[in-house]
């Protein structure tokens, strides 16, 4: 069948009436800010993988000590310095309990007549490294989360008050920040720690004492930006109270930035805790954190590399995952990145 292109048949066209109601129809479901952010972060593979790794580490930090057949505190001197041995994997030639002794490779489990398995080996006091590792992770995470939370609360309150009330309040608060900002974090942290009794609380105080400043500066900048925007002015004209404007209009708008910042505070806190414990200012035995475990392992690296290896892997994974997740969240929540 051949069509005459000059004269198309009339039935190949259909007349469409313009329906005014169609223009108003919403073709896509409307998304809230958070749904939108979730859609974007889902496309970020690195962030998703990080989320799984973090979830896994956090779960293991609580479940790990329970599933291990050995206690973290029990010292079995006859089982000291054993390399890792895992049932099943041992047949592959790794984690099979073979360690070097006086330059020769020997099965230390056989030699010391140990008939149980220490999955990640034992330390110099015969404590199970698997349980110790996860309990240490628990402590490190606890310190990091509490420190990040305190930083967030103080920073948001301080920056918010400073930015929202402005004027003389802002002047005074900002002068204080300007002075505090000049104090090197490291110096103040070390001073505080040499002054306080070492422990979890001391480390948290030391980390948070200057940690909130960054957050307060960002929050202040954001509040200054939003407080004079039309929708806030409109709300004020309609008689909204300060409390309502802050909670209903300003906070929801800066929540994204607060979350991003907190996400980056957590790895910093993990690092600082490990750093302090490494130079001997952090937790004291018998408490264990990733930092103290790394410190213990460092001293024995030539003879018992496994003691350093596992905490080093976990802390690196934690830091990488938190940083990647933070990056992903920044891309997903930052309105400037919206396409």
């Amino acid at each position: 069948m051949k069509h005459d292109l000059q004269k198309p048949p009339a039935d190949s066209f259909e007349r469409i009436e313009i329906d005014a109601s169609h223009a108003e129809r919403i073709t896509k479901p409307s998304l809230s800010f958070w749904q939108d952010a979730w859609l974007r972060i889902r496309k970020n593979k690195a962030a998703i993988v990080s989320m799984f790794i973090l979830a896994l580490i956090i779960i293991m930090a609580f479940v790990g000590p329970m599933i291990s057949p050995h206690d973290a505190e029990t010292q079995t001197i006859t089982h000291a310095n054993l390399p890792p041995k895992v049932p099943g994997i041992e047949k592959l030639g790794i984690m099979d309990g073979v360690g070097t002794l006086a330059g020769k490779e020997v099965d230390l489990y056989e030699m010391k007549k140990v008939d149980t398995y220490y999955w990640f080996g034992t330390d110099g006091l015969g404590r199970d490294m698997f349980s110790r590792l996860w309990e240490g992770t628990q402590i490190s995470l606890l310190i990091a989360f509490i420190a990040a939370l305190i930083d967030m609360v103080i920073g948001v309150a301080y920056g918010g008050i400073s930015g929202y009330y402005g004027g003389r309040v802002d002047d005074v608060l900002q002068r204080i920040v300007e002075i505090l900002y000049g104090i090197p974090t490291l110096v103040i942290v070390i001073l505080m720690l040499s002054f306080m009794k070492p422990g979890i609380t001391a480390i948290i105080i030391a980390i948070t004492i200057t940690g909130w400043i960054g957050m307060s500066r960002i929050v202040r900048g954001q509040v200054l930006k939003f407080k004079n925007q039309e929708f806030v002015l409109a709300s004020r004209t309609l008689g909204a109270t300060n409390g309502r404007i802050i909670t209903k209009h300003i906070l929801p708008n800066i929540l994204g930035i607060i979350i991003i910042n907190t996400m980056f505070t957590i790895p910093t806190a993990i690092f600082f805790e490990a750093f302090l414990s490494f130079i001997g200012l952090g937790l004291q035995p018998p408490d264990a954190s990733l930092g103290t475990l790394i410190n213990d392992g460092y001293k024995l690296i030539q003879f018992q590399p496994h003691i350093l290896l596992f905490p080093a892997i976990i802390i690196s994974l934690l830091m990488i995952a938190f940083n990647l997740l933070g990056d992903g969240l920044r891309d997903a929540l930052d309105p400037k990145m919206k396409d």
Binding site: G182, L191, F275, I279, G280, Y298, S316, M319, I320, N323
Partner: protein, 310 residues
């Protein structure tokens, strides 16, 4: 500009004064003193020693004396190290720390800039992902973990470099410098990548391209120079990071630097060295941050120097 600098210098002094005061009183509030462990001394002998160091005087008097000495650059005498003056001790140990810091910074920033450039010019290719991965690793893995593994593999296992100490000349500074360079490397490469991508999409780059500039010209002559300017702003935090790093890395490689001495003096309660080093670190960072801010205003006239650093 002059007004801004005056104001900043004024704040620098207030900050420094506060740090000095806080350090002094924190040290005084510390449990124990450097001589309290010498229990073999009789009360009379103890009193003689205390009088010698001025520890028997009331705290406000000690404070005034300390501040007066500080104004003259005298940081007091160490309790260990045969009463050597703290200023001399710090100057003695400055060399290795400065060398490591400079090498680490230069190495890290140079490689970081290179990686960042490659990533930005080959955006979303394997090059980009590779350099981003290196940057994430550099930011994430704590410097002391990285240093420990460097030391284990390159020095203990393969014996390419000395394990530690400062005895073999420049070779002994290689591993610690690499360990210190990781932080600056990561920061610089992430920063340059973001800046380059932003600059490359700006109008004057399009103009340069449309006038027939080659890719190489556009990248180096037009984009790179503008992307480099904001890098100055991270120099302050980088310097702070290097200080943090030097504390552990000097410890790991047993380098006779300031950081190593600081950690040791904390362990032995040597007040005057702790105070001296703290003040030295603070002064160093305060001056670096100040210089960076002023420098930034000079090389990039678009920046207003009136407000804070927001």
């Amino acid at each position: 500009m002059a007004k801004y600098i005056t104001r900043r210098v004024f704040y620098m002094f207030i900050t420094f004064f506060l740090i000095a005061t806080a350090t002094f009183f924190l040290m005084k509030a510390l449990p124990g003193s450097p001589i309290s462990s010498a229990s073999k001394l009789s009360p009379t002998q103890l009193a003689v020693v205390e009088a010698k160091y001025g520890l028997d005087q009331p705290i406000p008097v000690q404070y005034a004396k300390y501040m007066l000495n500080l104004a003259q650059g005298d940081l007091g005498n160490s309790f260990q190290f045969k009463n050597a003056s703290v200023t001399d001790l710090i100057i003695d140990r400055l060399g290795p720390s400065m060398l490591l810091g400079t090498q680490g910074l230069v190495l890290g920033v140079a490689i970081g800039i290179l990686l960042g450039m490659i990533a930005a010019l080959r955006q979303n290719t394997i090059w980009d992902y590779g350099s981003t991965f290196v940057a994430i690793i550099g930011i994430s893995i704590p410097s002391f973990v990285f240093a420990t593994f460097l030391q284990y593999w390159l020095a203990v296992e393969w014996k390419i470099f000395p394990v530690g100490l400062w005895k073999d000349g420049w070779v002994s500074s290689v591993l610690p410098s690499i360990a210190l360079a990781m932080g600056p490397l990561a920061t610089a490469s992430r920063f340059i990548r973001t800046e380059m991508i932003e600059v490359l999409s700006s109008d004057y780059i399009t103009l340069a391209k449309s006038k027939g500039a080659t890719g190489f010209e556009v990248a180096f002559k037009h984009a790179f120079r503008n992307a480099l300017i904001p890098l100055v702003t991270v120099l302050g935090p980088l310097a702070a990071g290097l200080l943090t790093g030097s504390l552990v890395i000097e410890q790991i490689f047993a380098i006779p630097g300031i950081g190593e001495q600081f950690v040791k003096s904390i362990m032995s309660n040597d007040f005057s060295i702790i105070m001296g080093t703290t003040l030295f670190f603070s002064a160093f960072l305060i001056v670096v941050i100040f210089l960076v801010d002023v420098l930034y205003g000079i090389i990039d006239p678009r920046i207003r120097l009136s407000g804070g650093k927001d």
